[in-house]
């Protein structure tokens, strides 16, 4: 039976995604309170205050990492949802297309975030 031959070992995948999702969650959980503290303790939150908040390179990098972590977290989460719900025999192509489309969209968001963050001068 072919199913016997297939069940020799696992695909040796899944662990990296699972770990990356946890790691990105940890970063978001660490960044958000720190950022909120910085924002709340800023002297003012008008344009000048907001600009001053994002002016240091450290904040730009930390915020960009936050965006990257959020996007990676969201991509892995969507991938999980696609695997859960799209598993008909002919869904593989649809699933791959969705992974690709969402990845392109999120990478575009990432580049856009770079543009926004580094436009603060």
């Amino acid at each position: 039976m072919s199913s016997v031959a297939k069940s020799v070992g696992g695909a040796h995948r899944g662990l990296d995604m699972w770990l990356a999702q946890r790691a990105s969650a940890v970063y978001m959980a660490l960044f958000l309170p720190v950022f909120l503290f910085c924002a709340v303790s800023a002297p003012s939150l008008d344009y000048a205050g907001w600009r001053a908040l994002f002016l240091p390179l450290g904040m730009k990098v930390a915020a960009l990492l936050f965006v990257a972590a959020t996007l990676a977290h969201a991509w892995i989460g969507l991938r999980e949802i696609f695997i859960d719900y799209l598993h008909c025999p002919r869904c593989t192509m649809l699933r791959l297309s969705l992974y690709f489309a969402v990845a392109v969209l999120y990478l575009a968001c990432l580049v856009w975030a770079v543009d926004i963050l580094w436009s603060v001068k």
Binding site: G9, G10, R13, L15, I83
Partner: protein, 232 residues
């Protein structure tokens, strides 16, 4: 008491339907299984269900009562909202009435090799274990394979052929955790898979329904921790 029970007879050619029963029974101290047996004895002998030990040991009378997977033999009639709706465990095929086809469930169970793998020569008496090593198995060996957890898991509903389900994963971990077993690496190799293990998203339906009070989600978490340790 009023009951509404799922009926299906593949030989009749009719679609599955719910049938109402009015049973004269004092719920005091009685279990759902007592009512099922009474219905079969006095009202409808064609009603089919599995039962054996009738005291929560054999795990053969898992059913869905008012939306929750339970063992009929240890679920008190008292306090259940009427009409008491009894259905077969979800997702696995129905053979007849409350009797489900457990083949898929057992296939996943067999896949985790639920037996000790130890290639050392057999000792004269027994393979010894320290009390601490033995304690690792508590909360794992008690599983009676009733299927309440696996059939309450949405990940199993969506991918029943590929996701092993909480019961099989708990049993898989039972042998990974056993100090006498020598096949930990092979077992982890088998489990490291986006479907077999990683469909579990930790929603803990399995913990909520387990009639033996076990925690498959925790066992699955320990498997994941071992995979991480091995990878790093």
């Amino acid at each position: 008491m009023r009951f509404r029970i799922y009926r299906y007879d593949p030989e009749s050619g009719n679609k599955p339907s719910m049938q109402d029963y009015e049973l004269d029974i004092d719920p005091q101290g009685k279990k759902v299984l007592d009512a099922l047996i009474a219905i079969k004895d006095t009202l409808d002998e064609s009603l089919s269900f599995r039962r054996s030990c009738r005291e929560g040991v054999c795990g053969s009378d898992g059913v869905n009562v008012n939306g929750t997977n339970v063992l009929a033999c240890i679920t008190p009639l008292e306090g259940l909202k009427q009409p008491i709706e009894i259905r077969p465990l979800p997702r696995l095929g129905v053979i007849r009435d409350l009797i489900i086809d457990m083949a898929q469930f057992y296939q996943h169970y067999r896949a985790v090799k639920p037996y000790l793998i130890n290639l050392d020569p057999e000792p004269e008496n027994e393979r010894l274990q320290s009390p601490e090593d033995r304690a690792e198995l508590d909360g794992l060996w008690e599983c009676i394979l009733c299927g309440c957890c696996t059939t309450s898991c949405p990940s199993f509903w969506w991918n029943p052929d590929k996701f092993l389900g909480p019961a099989a994963l708990l049993q898989g971990y039972r042998f990974i955790a056993d100090s006498r077993d020598q096949a930990t690496d092979e077992r982890l190799d088998f489990l490291e898979d986006p479907y077999r293990l990683f469909r579990c998203h930790g929603i803990m339906n399995c913990v909520e329904v387990c009639p033996k009070g076990l925690n498959p989600t925790q066992a699955i978490g320990k498997i994941k921790s071992l995979l991480v340790k091995r990878a790093l």
